[in-house]
């Protein structure tokens, strides 16, 4: 898709920007114009930030969260205060960070690096399930808490993990869902109420 009237260099910038998630043709054009108009050091700083992040950040060898290249394990896996017997399984590092911000979970994580989405060509092989199975086999894990998204693809991903590791003797649980704390029953929709009923627990 060559854009009319732009030189090859600008075209290259626009098509690189256009490959970012959520960026369409119009946005990439706008961003390219911004980068060419703003102070040069600002644009170079962005390029540098991208380069050094890509050079220095990789996946933790145990949980696949992001870590610096000189550290094979991420800061959570390295932390001796974390409980290694409870593993919270998430789709992506962004979900892990949301949980860490809430600071309510003391265990460790496993990042699947995606979710089961066969219609988009993402099967078990594209996820880090083999590595999770190896972690389970090593024997320290007592419980896997499935914290994939509460939608069909997230539920499917949880099913896949449960299916694969169901016989391993490890306890597999799913995060509860239903009513939000601080909300009112009156405004809860049918699905929220149904989830809250099925996820009820003794007082």
């Amino acid at each position: 898709m060559a854009s009319a009237g732009y030189s090859a260099v600008v075209d290259r910038l626009m098509s690189a920007l256009g490959r970012l998630p959520g960026i369409g043709a119009r946005s990439s054009e706008r961003l390219a114009h911004h980068l060419l108009k703003c102070p040069p050091e600002e644009a170079i700083e962005l390029a540098d930030a991208i380069r050094s992040a890509r050079d220095r950040i990789r996946h933790c060898q145990v949980c696949f969260h992001l870590t610096e290249t000189d550290e094979p394990l991420c800061s959570i896996c390295r932390d001796p205060r974390r409980d290694p017997s409870t593993v919270c399984v998430v789709e992506q590092s962004r979900d892990l960070i949301a949980m860490e911000k809430a600071a309510t979970f003391q265990g460790v994580y496993h990042v699947l690096l995606g979710r089961l989405a066969p219609l988009s060509g993402i099967g078990p092989e594209q996820l880090t399930i083999d590595a999770l199975a190896a972690r389970v086999q090593s024997g320290t894990i007592r419980e896997l808490i499935m914290a994939t998204n509460p939608n069909l693809e997230g539920d499917g991903t949880a099913l896949l993990v449960a299916n694969r590791l169901g016989d391993s003797g490890v306890k597999i649980t799913r995060l509860a869902r239903g009513l939000a704390t601080g909300s009112t029953l009156e405004f809860a929709n049918r699905d929220m109420l149904a989830d809250a009923f099925s996820g009820r627990h003794p007082l």
């Binding site: 998630p21 959520g22 369409g24 066969p118 219609l119 060509g121 099967g123 939608n151 069909l152 693809e153 539920d155 499917g156 099913l159 896949l160 299916n163 929709n189 049918r190 699905d191």
Partner: protein, 251 residues
């Protein structure tokens, strides 16, 4: 602006921008539509839950010019198909239904009967012993609705009655159905099927209850699955993505 309201099954979603969603919906009244749901991923969005994959929702949209995406203004969940969340085999079968709806139908080409067939199929995928037969019935419903139903009673080419010879019948994948002895050499992609297999396909394509009584272990049923799958692949021009995952055992 004029709006349209209909029931819809969510067959594909793509996250766009910060909080929006582009979805492909198979609607009952409007056929397949591509919609933009602005802000659908915001925590307080009224469309949250109404755009979950393979959910059935009551939707309102503002139709746009032919090339552009329609604008979705409401999506309220009506039915969720619980079996899809209970076992992988049901989930894969559900994804297969979505793939067929997406790939076999054209935009803005309504097929209310196919919509109803999809709904019934998704609702009952949890019965393991009938699951693959329900999928087969859905495949045949797709072919029938799209005018591609293979001929099962007389020669697809000349209309003559077809007599099985030594228990074998010729079946044209491209020409759509069984062929008489005289016509079988002409058309390409002709396979031999057994009369037991033809009986199974007939039962699966019929409205009655005979398909439920088919022997699940019979070779006729297993071969019917292959032949109907081959017809689907032929129509699509490729093998469906989910096809290899069907029949994955999870028990």
């Amino acid at each position: 602006m004029p709006t349209s309201r209909t029931l819809a099954i969510v067959i594909r979603t793509i996250e766009v921008f910060e909080t929006s969603l582009v979805a492909t919906l198979f609607t009952r009244e409007l056929g397949k539509v591509g919609v933009l749901a602005k802000g659908a991923r915001r925590p307080k969005s009224s469309m949250q839950g109404g755009l979950d994959l393979l959910g059935l929702s009551d939707i309102v949209l503002i139709p746009k010019a032919s090339e552009a995406l329609d604008l979705l203004t409401e999506a309220a969940p009506v039915e969720r198909f619980a079996p899809l969340r209970r076992d992988l085999a049901s989930l894969y079968a559900g994804y297969y239904v979505a793939e067929l709806l997406n790939e076999l139908t054209d935009l803005h080409d309504p097929h209310p009967k196919l919509f109803d067939a999809a709904r019934i199929t998704l609702r009952h995928l949890g019965e393991p012993e009938l699951r693959s037969r329900r999928v087969l019935r859905f495949e045949l419903a797709c072919l029938r609705e799209l005018g591609l139903m293979p001929a099962l009673e007389s020669c697809a080419h000349c209309g003559a009655p077809v007599e099985p010879r030594g228990g074998t019948i010729w079946f044209g994948l491209a020409t759509g159905g069984i062929l008489c002895e005289a016509c079988r050499t002409g058309p390409p992609h002709v396979v031999a099927i057994t009369s037991g297999e033809l009986e199974a396909i007939r039962a699966l394509a019929s409205p009655g209850d005979a398909w439920r009584r088919l022997d699940p272990t019979s070779t006729g049923l297993a071969r019917a699955r292959e032949t109907v799958g081959a017809v689907i692949s032929h129509v699509l021009g490729h093998r469906p993505r989910l096809r290899p995952l069907l029949g994955v055992s999870t028990e």
